[in-house]
């Protein structure tokens, strides 16, 4: 249950476009980038997402968090892109995919020894390759679970999928990642 106070806070949060961008831009961009695999396209979709959210802020009823609401809009925009320009979309996404070396350079250097750093980097690259290899739906569900830390019901609401379908995609995604990381098949 969402209290009236929470709803008012969320709505006033939506009124300030600058703070909306400051707080949520990186999270939405992260989800969109790893869903579509193309950073340029992800920037465009994220921008459209925020414009859509800002222009339609009156329709926000406060039934979920602002982050979930934004991710839901982003998810629909991704679906629209895929539906409308399926062929060009994936061809373009493949052509300008996120460079794994560039991406790996953002790995926080918490590891003590150079060997540990190399190992951490390799594992991170393995995860990225495995996430990229998932099907579109498996990847979206996987990212919503492990990036956005949504539960199955929230994922079902955001993606318009039945709960059981979400569970199936999630389990298949985990199975693939597990196998890639060298787990028991």
């Amino acid at each position: 249950m969402i209290h009236l106070g929470t709803q008012v806070t969320a709505i006033s949060e939506l009124d300030d476009i600058d703070s909306l961008v400051a707080v949520y831009w990186a999270r939405v961009l992260r989800f969109v980038t790893f869903s579509v695999g193309d950073p340029d396209l992800a920037q465009t979709i994220t921008q459209d997402c925020f414009l859509k959210a800002y222009n339609g802020r009156a329709s926000f009823r406060g039934e979920c968090t602002v982050n979930t609401w934004l991710i839901g809009i982003a998810n629909h925009l991704i679906c629209d892109h895929v539906r409308l320009k399926k062929f060009q979309f994936w061809r373009k996404a493949r052509a300008s995919a996120l460079d794994v070396t560039e991406f790996a350079s953002f790995l926080p250097s918490n590891e003590s020894s150079p060997e540990s750093k190399i190992l951490a980097r390799e594992r991170m690259e393995q995860v990225k390759a495995a996430v990229d290899a998932l099907s579109v739906n498996q990847r979206r569900v996987f990212l919503l679970k492990f990036f956005e830390e949504m539960n199955v019901e929230e994922i079902a609401e955001v993606t318009d999928m039945p709960v059981n379908t979400v569970k199936t995609h999630l389990h298949r995604g985990i199975k693939t990642i597990r196998a890639t990381l060298g787990g028991t098949k």
Binding site: W25, A26, L51, L107, R123
Partner: protein, 169 residues
């Protein structure tokens, strides 16, 4: 420990359950005893966590778009769209109308339009005169006039010739 494929470790379903919700009592019992599965589960969590942290660092480093400017640009594009269409239509008409007229031949109206726009410059008058002179030269009979043949005077021809010559001067 019950496993579907006869292996001594967590099945994919049990593993998925452990990372998404929580280990069941049966899985927890196995994890307490099996170091391999404990390590695998910890490695899986650590890898995903590192991946998420890296992705967050990457997305935070990406430049943020000035949404106010983007919104203004978008609304300007929306407003400009009818103007672009109007200009495109006008350009199309400018090209299509002459083509259509050429295709259907000049009408009476177009003839009168041509005639009603004379160019009275001295050059144009001189050019017209030269044209008339050449037309006159072409029309002047080279053969012997039948009037002359029978010893008669061609008064009409000489009058016309005289008028034409006086006009040309």
């Amino acid at each position: 420990m019950s496993t579907t494929s006869g292996s001594a470790h967590l099945t994919d379903e049990q593993f998925a359950e452990c990372v998404t919700v929580a280990p069941s009592a049966e899985s927890q019992l196995h994890l307490d005893e099996c170091e391999h599965c404990r390590r695998e589960l910890a490695a899986f969590d650590a890898s995903l966590s590192a991946f998420g942290t890296t992705a967050t660092a990457w997305s935070e480093a990406m430049p943020k778009v000035d949404l106010r400017a983007a919104a203004r640009l978008k609304s300007r594009r929306t407003m400009e769209r009818p103007l672009v269409w109007a200009l495109a239509t006008a350009a199309l008409l400018l090209i299509a109308v002459p083509v259509w007229k050429n295709h259907h031949g000049p009408s009476a109206g177009s003839e009168s339009a041509v005639m009603s726009t004379p160019d009275d410059s001295a050059d144009q008058i001189a050019q017209d005169n030269r044209l008339l002179q050449s037309v006159y030269a072409e029309l002047t009979p080279q053969d012997v006039s039948p009037f002359k043949e029978y010893g008669m005077t061609d008064k009409a021809t000489s009058r016309t010739k005289g008028r034409m010559e006086s006009r040309l001067q």
